[in-house]
């Protein structure tokens, strides 16, 4: 079976500076993969490269189609949803408007409306605040909103950039639980960039460790979790 996502010799540049030096990895449908690494290693850049937001060389294939030269809007319409770092919420619009925008490209209006209901079930706090201006939501609520908005796309692959950033552990736990549920019920594959390696390795099936733009370790999440040497030297715990 063809992989959902397959990346081959991916290089990425900010202007003249090369940030990714030939990444190779792939993801199966419905799997959860996590990208770990220190600040500046290139994790966020990888997600951006997948979405066509930075200059790239190399091959990216999604559901068998090559997407590396396409624009962000087109890649999104193929079924990749990206929750960027900083969340990218439309802070001046209401919660509900943010969700509606998530479903903007859906052809089936009724299915999109049904999905919005489902989002409110996953995230009841959002239902309470549906008319509220998104910028006034708490950090955790904004993260939930960002994820919900991404899910409104009906994606096959969800890219998550540091969802735990700046949030209290309790909230982070809730969010990770919801992601597990979403992965199991909606069969959405998740590519998770995280600094909180412990929680990420709990959730994920596979893990890649990136250091200065190169993958240095790859393997099953469980194996890495149980490997004391790796944990101590690379993940700091």
């Amino acid at each position: 079976m063809a992989a959902l996502l397959s990346v081959s010799n991916l290089e990425a540049y900010y202007g003249q500076t090369q940030v990714l030096h030939g990444l190779d990895f792939s993801m199966e449908e419905g799997s959860i993969t996590t990208l770990l690494g220190a600040n500046g290693a290139g994790k966020t850049t990888t997600l951006r490269a997948l979405c066509g937001m930075v200059k790239t060389h190399g091959e990216i294939a999604f559901c068998g189609e090559r997407i590396e030269q396409r624009g962000t809007e087109d890649i999104v319409r193929l079924g990749i949803a990206h929750v960027p770092d900083g969340r990218g919420t439309f802070v001046d619009l209401s919660t509900e408007e943010n969700l509606r925008l998530g479903g903007y490209t859906r052809k089936d209006r009724r299915a999109a409306a049904a999905d919005m209901e489902r989002m409110y079930e996953y995230f009841p706090r959002l239902r309470e605040r549906r008319k509220q201006q998104a910028g006034t939501l708490s950090g955790g609520e904004q993260q939930m909103l960002a994820i919900a908005r991404a899910l409104m796309l009906g994606p096959r692959l969800l890219l998550l950039d540091e969802p735990s950033f700046g949030l209290a552990p309790l909230i982070v736990g809730q969010i990770f639980d919801i992601m597990r549920t979403v992965n199991q019920t909606e069969k959405v594959a998740i590519l998770l960039v995280e600094q909180n390696a412990a929680m990420a390795l709990e959730l994920a099936d596979h893990a890649y460790l990136i250091e200065t733009g190169r993958i240095v370790i790859s393997g099953a999440a469980e194996a890495i979790r149980n490997d004391d040497a790796v944990r101590r030297s690379y993940l700091g715990y």
Partner: protein, 290 residues
């Protein structure tokens, strides 16, 4: 006292036109952070188009609608073809391109239609309606048309998916792309709408000030003043600003400085707002921390 009310009402009429044009300016500013210096000349050119259609025998409202549609398409085309290549260029370059557009439209109009003043018909009856001496039927009609346009626009942006998408593209283009919105085309649509609004404004003001290639330069200046006064990134502020500027212009012109110097009020307002409160009444105040 009757002069006072007459001035106020005619100020509301021209104010509605300033409000429309100011709204067009704010729409483009919100999406691009550029001020379309050519907005007035585009509106003037649209009005000349309408004049041609009417003189070719087309009934007024047919010509009106057709002109609005053509202006819409024209706005979209101009954005895609002329503005897009300099989208990310420095401010000076973009201003120069706008001035280039201004000059092209102005001279094209002068070339095709000559500089002689033409009269432009009003679709509203010319006999004053009894009981309403302060405001002509055209004036009332113009205010009515302005209000209809404003309400339609509000409804479009507030209640339709496309309107929501356009707002999103203006507020946060990066996130808009991430939900699949084609931000470039949203910009083009915005230009189209702005051009259409301008056409309506032009057709409403032409019966009052008569049609000639330089008809809109004063109107544009007042619209700038209105947009700045209300807040360059606030559509509601622009509309309110337009009506206020219109009334103020008439009152100041009639009672303070005389009609010849009215236009300098716009200059004073612009500089005044920029000095005292650049964000205008309702705009967002940006703090520049050094």
């Amino acid at each position: 006292m009757s002069t006072f009310w007459a001035q106020v009402f005619s100020g509301l009429v021209t104010g509605g036109i300033y409000a429309s044009l100011a709204l067009a300016l704010v729409m483009i500013y919100q999406a691009t952070h550029h001020v379309n210096f050519a907005q007035g000349e585009m509106a003037m050119f649209s009005t000349y188009l309408a004049w041609s259609l009417i003189h070719a025998g087309m009934p007024y409202w047919f010509a009106f609608v057709l002109t609005v549609l053509i202006s819409f398409v024209g706005g979209v085309v101009i954005e895609r073809v002329i503005i897009r290549p300099v989208e990310n260029a420095p401010v000076l370059s973009v201003v120069v391109v706008f001035i280039g557009l201004l000059v092209i439209f102005n001279s094209l109009a002068g070339w095709i239609y000559t500089y002689s003043i033409k009269s432009f018909p009003s679709p509203f009856p010319s006999q004053p309606i009894s009981g309403f001496e302060y405001i002509s039927p055209h004036g009332m009609g113009a205010i009515g048309v302005t209000l209809v346009v404003l309400v339609l626009l509000y409804a479009f942006f507030r209640f339709t998916p496309l309107g929501l998408a356009m707002r999103a593209a203006a507020l946060n283009p990066a996130s808009a792309r991430l939900v699949g919105i084609r931000v470039g085309w949203m910009l083009a649509l915005g230009w189209g709408l702005a051009a259409a609004i301008g056409a309506v404004a032009g057709m409403m003001v032409a019966p009052i000030v008569y049609l000639d290639p330089n008809m809109m330069s004063g109107v544009l200046l007042y619209a700038f003043a209105a947009a700045l006064f209300g807040g360059i990134d606030s559509p509601g502020g622009a509309v309110l600003g337009g009506f206020i500027v219109g009334v103020l212009e008439n009152l100041v012109g009639a009672f303070v400085i005389g009609n010849d110097l009215k236009l300098s009020l716009a200059l004073v307002l612009i500089v005044g707002v920029l000095v005292v409160r650049p964000a205008g009444l309702f705009g967002r105040v940006l703090v520049n921390r050094v």
